[in-house]
């Protein structure tokens, strides 16, 4: 067993490593090793063989994680293990394994200075500035393409600038492949006019209130709103602005495709706290009863493959009764009519009435 491996077996070693321990290992990496006479690379390699017993997931996943983890920890000295794990999208345990792995990373000729200087103390991670991994590597073509596809779907004035900048941050050899990949993902049409979206983006980035001309679906009329824009979010295929409505005194969601006009004001606001946002919901808890719709077999197959539809019960021949939560009577009617005669709204009573009226009034036009 080499020095590096043995250190991990010491009682104090896992998770919490004394800050003095790392330099001491590297000051005499071979002292405790029976292979002291062998070359450094060989000693290092054999340590790795010993560590190789447990099966590991795709090695590239770990590499991508640590190539972000090292510069991030360098930039945030003493970041809590928990926080760093959250940033890396892994569990604390995985993170500690990554740190163990990193302890053994160096570069030939594997002199003490060629190893990463990192330690965990009191659940906080410290990494000294490393000469090679001070910043993460460039975007891979799929990283940049995924981000570009998402940005194109949202739209906004700056999307072409953003996509161009992303392209340039991919290694030169991979840009053709980036171009191809971007053309292979289409994540939907922009939900609002570029000018509206561009102003919202700016207002969010600068924390300025906006004045909106907004088509309110519940009243089928245009209203003027003053909103502190917190963020944009997406549910069930629709984009929403989420922000604080000053007149109503609470945070609300506004559908982007119903914002006709947007002006950015000079009023700055403080960001909502993390705990406020933790309680935030795009939709207030399902307003009223969910609407029930009876579907024929064809409509049922179609509807159940879409998001936001909950199966209540199966009916004969493949039909079904489904529920839509938190929708207006008007939306439920339109939804049922869009299924071409193969669906009807059945409950609650108000939604049923709305549906019945709509069918009769529309039929009258074709008399």
């Amino acid at each position: 067993m080499t020095a590096a491996k043995r250190r991990k077996a010491e009682p104090a070693a896992p998770a919490v490593r004394a800050s003095g321990a790392a330099p001491s290992r590297r000051a005499s990496p071979k002292a405790a090793s029976p292979k002291a006479a062998s070359t450094k690379p060989a000693a290092k390699a054999s340590a790795r063989k010993a560590a190789a017993a447990a099966p590991r997931p795709d090695p590239r996943d770990r590499l991508r994680r640590v190539l972000f983890l090292v510069p991030y920890a360098v930039r945030h000295p003493g970041i809590p293990v928990k926080e760093l794990a959250r940033r890396c999208g892994c569990t604390e345990r995985e993170l500690l394994e990554d740190l163990d792995f990193l302890l053994e990373v160096g570069s030939p000729p594997f002199a003490p200075d060629d190893f990463l200087d990192l330690y965990v103390e009191g659940d906080r991670v410290y990494v000294a500035l490393h000469q090679s991994f001070s910043r993460p590597p460039r975007f891979t073509e799929s990283e940049a393409a995924a981000l570009a596809a998402a940005a194109q779907a949202l739209g906004g004035e700056g999307r072409e600038r953003a996509v161009k900048a992303l392209r340039e941050s991919v290694p030169r050899d991979r840009r053709a492949s980036f171009d191809e990949l971007v053309g292979r993902i289409y994540a939907g049409a922009p939900p609002a006019r570029d000018s509206v979206l561009g102003r919202l983006q700016r207002a969010i980035a600068e924390r300025r209130a906006v004045r909106l001309a907004y088509h309110s679906a519940s009243r089928d009329a245009e209203t003027e709103r003053v909103v502190r824009p917190y963020t944009l979010a997406q549910r069930f295929g629709h984009w929403y602005l989420y922000g604080h409505d000053s007149a109503r005194g609470k945070a609300l969601a506004f559908r982007l495709d119903r914002i006709r006009e947007c002006t950015v004001s000079d009023e700055r606001f403080d960001p909502p706290s993390e705990s406020e946002l933790a309680r935030a919901r795009l939709f207030s808890e399902a307003q009223g009863e969910p609407v029930q719709i009876r579907l024929g077999p064809l409509a049922a197959a179609w509807a159940l493959a879409r998001p936001g539809v909950r199966l209540v019960e199966r009916a004969e021949k493949g039909g079904a009764v489904v529920e839509l939560a938190g929708t207006s009577d008007e939306y439920a009617t339109r939804y049922a009519l869009s299924l071409g005669g193969d669906a009807e709204v059945i409950a609650p009573a108000s939604a049923r009435r709305h549906f019945v009226d709509a069918v009769r009034r529309t039929l009258a036009r074709y008399g």
């Binding site: 972000f68 991994f133 590597p137 993902i185 969010i204 295929g237 009807e344 529309t362």
Partner: protein
């Protein structure tokens, strides 16, 4: 040596080197990995180089000149993520769009997207407000508990197949969910519509470009042989954006039929927009008349019915009659 360690050591080594490193020197520094004689060691090194490039780390071979020896190097400028130099609002766009896509649980290259969002904080001087807003976006966009997100795995598998142009074998459930068919598909691309994901690709069973609803793909297998060699090239005339933005009445079902719809005031902008960019609009006496060419009348019928009594199908006669019949059928059932 473990592969992940070898790759990272190699990257660290080449990044640190002051000048290109010869193959012989690399062999000396990694004797257990590339030390063997002949082709096998070189092939192993080439595979590692390809893996590094996939991680965004380009290893280049420099031919050498009077100043520098020939050898391998990683140029620092080509390695480190540069500052994107974007104004704050563009950065907000990337953060918000990326975070929402990630939180939805179904987006192509979701894992790559997560890495990209992480790296973004290094690619901008002051992400500040945008980063905080992105966290909120994730909170708001995340599916509630119990929401099915099983499509996520399908999207991820298919993104790999699309990127590497590998053929897939799918078991696909018919629209009525009664029977399945098996087919080979050349995956051209993935698109989202109405919150659902679809695969567009060349179907070898139907010998045509077809659309597949990801929720109806019962099982999926990517051609496992030669993972780095493409199985096909997409047809040159294919454009995913054109394909994905077809309106429902533009699906290829029958020959084109000119249709005319009357919309009564007040007509919200979103209703007009719902007829797509190719619709012809005219106003007359307060009403708006919409003309579209439909190759799938049934789709148009449904779209118009969903608009309720403010919309009326005028032409063709047959479709107008069908609208009446559907509504009459519903009305009979209301009693």
């Amino acid at each position: 040596m473990q592969k992940d360690q070898r790759l990272l050591d190699l990257a660290a080594f080449l990044l640190k080197a002051a000048e290109p490193v010869s193959w012989r020197e690399i062999q000396e520094q990694f004797p257990e990995d590339y030390g063997g004689k002949g082709e096998a060691a070189i092939r192993k090194f080439e595979r590692d180089k390809a893996d590094l490039l996939e991680l965004g780390i380009p290893v280049r071979y420099a031919a050498g000149d009077e100043d520098l020896p020939a050898g391998y190097l990683i140029e620092r400028d080509e390695f480190y993520l540069p500052d994107l130099k974007l104004p704050p609002e563009d950065l907000a766009l990337l953060y918000l769009a990326g975070s929402a896509a990630l939180a939805s649980g179904t987006f192509p290259y979701a894992r790559d997207l997560a890495h990209a969002l992480n790296k973004l904080s290094f690619a901008a001087r002051a992400p500040g407000a945008s980063e905080a807003a992105a966290l909120a976006t994730r909170q708001l966009s995340a599916p509630e508990e119990g929401d099915p997100v099983d499509v996520g795995a399908r999207v991820e598998e298919l993104s790999r197949a699309v990127a590497h142009r590998k053929r897939v074998h799918v078991v696909y459930l018919g629209a009525e969910r009664r029977h399945t068919t098996e087919r080979d598909v050349d995956p051209y691309g993935l698109f989202q519509r109405g919150g659902a994901w679809f695969l567009a690709g060349f179907c070898h069973l139907r010998q045509a470009i077809r659309t597949f609803h990801l929720k109806r793909i019962v099982s999926l297998a990517m051609n496992p042989s030669a993972p780095r060699t493409p199985d096909f090239a997409p047809r040159k005339d294919f454009s995913l954006a054109d394909f994905a933005t077809r309106e429902i009445w533009e699906y290829d079902v029958h020959g084109a039929v000119r249709c005319r719809i009357r919309l009564d005031p007040p007509v919200p902008a979103e209703v007009i927009a719902s007829f797509g960019p190719r619709a012809k609009l005219a106003e007359d006496g307060g009403a708006t008349f919409v003309e579209v060419d439909a190759t799938n009348e049934e789709g148009l019928l449904r779209h118009v019915l969903a608009l309720g009594d403010r919309a009326e199908l005028l032409q063709p006669k047959g479709l107008r009659e069908k609208a009446r019949a559907v509504l009459a059928g519903l009305e009979r059932g209301l009693a």
